[in-house]
Amino acid sequence: MLIEVDSVCHRYSQEEEMVLNDISFKIERGEFIGLIGHTGSGKSTLVQLLNGLITPTAGQVYISGEDITAKEINLKSIREQVGLVFQYPEHQLFEETVYDDIAFGPKNLGLSEQVIEERVKQTLASVNLDYQRFKERSPFKLSGGQQRRVAIAGVLAMRPEVLILDEPTAGLDPKTRNEVIEEIVKFKKQFNLTIILISHRMEQVFQLADRILVLEQGELIFDCTPAELIKEQQRLIELGLSIPEVTKVLFALKERGYDLRTDLFEVAEIKEEIVKTLIKPGILKS
């Protein structure tokens, strides 16, 4: 087991209420996990527990069998294994140039200058930023979307085993958003990465994830596959989360008496399913 969270509770101070309440789950190497829940449900707190940025008030977190809540733990080695891209990229950028910012992690890993430069080039390309144009720029003098790309590149350059992405595509233009997602999927295949993706874009989560965790007011209320979760449509809407807009079409058609699958999330698959269903009654033109 790569990650195990056991009965974790957390609150930020004695006077405050619990932000996370008795959370337990396990993640295997190579899994793609989606983590959803509305703003303030505890998602960002939970992922910060996973790389030791926060120590839980109660309970244990194990990474590769090691209890990272133990006092004597070497947090540096944990953070090399578990890379976290923060929700707000400006919280992650600190060096004077884009190059140094991305090179920071690899330098700490003790890699040679040459390997570092290779990695910086490669990861900048993968987030769609031109190396020559951006390497000397200050990360603070970039547009919002450019900053986010640099933040993602910085974490990718560490080649962590677990990659946690907190809203990685918020504020990215559509083209870059798709490219970043493709790149993450490619990295995952290439290095057998384990991924935890927090996103408010339901279509993204339902399409990409093997398993989805749903947090509501600090409680883990679902831990299941997208196909299982889609059956909880009503509940998700009550929680303000909804399901992918394209999948709603299947549900609505089913409600009107058509016999078709409702557990599809990809546009192409849904199109096929609708065409197949409507062909039978002879509605199709051709």
Partner: protein
């Protein structure tokens, strides 16, 4: 009608060096009071820079920006100009300063040195307009993202502006929060007559805009109504703009031979279309 906002041949670059590329280039723009203008375009295309030029946080390298007739380079007018045009940003947490919602909304009017009865009136009105009256005494950090953003909007409205500029106000919000903000913005534009300039990467949010400006590499690449723009799926692809998945699905279904309209943005509309097929 007279224009509320006017940009004349505006050029902008951040660095002084002559060899730097323009971040904004040759922008000519007139916005009439009451309009809902949407701005879209790739990362780094100059959208936020434009927003900052509008209230004089940045000054044009060349050309001129006017709001309600006042030029942004006139130092004495800037104070008033900023009351007239307020900006709401992406991250709600960075915008809220006080520990209680109504104090946060009162912050601007207090700085204007208004009498307390007037402040009270403005705060109540602003909270009512964004539907947050019930949360007047709440702590901002206990609110959802959508609610926080509505409080941030109330803070700007309390200054009684003519124009609101939104720079990706929903980027960090969950679906419900996004919807709340979009409805609030539309309400302020339609019912209250506020001029709105709305920057976003979400096309679904701007289907009711009067005009959409597509920025690319610091220039206005295209200006169109939502209908003109969204019916051209190929054009959207060329401009690397978002095509809502539901529009994409409608488009693909029609390509497969189903005789349906492709100018569709919600699942409800698509289902209606499909059920009309007989």
């Amino acid at each position: 009608m007279e224009s509320l906002i006017e940009l004349k041949d505006v050029y902008y670059r951040y660095q002084e060096q002559e060899d730097e590329d323009w971040v904004l280039e040759n922008i000519d723009l007139e916005i009439t009071a009451g309009e809902f203008i949407a701005i879209v375009g790739h990362n780094g295309s100059g959208k936020s820079t434009l927003a900052k030029l509008l209230n004089g946080i940045l000054l044009p390298t060349q050309g001129e920006v006017r709001v309600g007739g006042k030029v942004t380079t006139e130092q004495e007018d800037l104070w008033q100009l900023r009351q007239q045009l307020g900006i709401v940003f992406q991250n709600p947490d960075n915008q809220l300063v006080a520990n209680i919602v109504e104090e946060d909304v009162a912050f601007g009017p207090e700085n204007l040195g208004l009498p307390s009865a007037e402040i009270r009136k403005r705060v109540d009105e602003a909270l009512r307009l964004v539907g947050m009256t019930d949360f007047a005494r709440a702590a901002p950090h206990k609110l959802s993202g959508g609610q926080k953003q509505r409080v941030a909007i109330a803070g700007v409205i309390a200054m009684r502006p003519d124009c609101l500029v939104f720079d990706e106000p929903t980027a960090m919000l969950d679906p419900q929060g996004r919807q709340e903000v979009v409805e609030t913005v539309e309400h302020l534009n339609r019912q209250e007559g506020l001029t709105v300039i709305y920057i976003t990467h979400f096309m679904e949010e701007i289907i009711n805009a009067d005009r959409i400006l597509v920025f690319a590499d610091g220039k206005v690449e295209l200006a169109a109504t939502p209908k003109e723009l969204f019916t051209k799926v190929d054009k959207l692809r060329d401009l690397a703009l978002d095509i809502p998945q539901i529009t994409e699905l409608a488009y693909q279904l029609s390509e497969s031979g189903l005789d349906i309209d492709t100018n569709i943005f919600t699942s409800t509309e698509l289902v209606e279309e499909l059920c009309l097929l007989k």
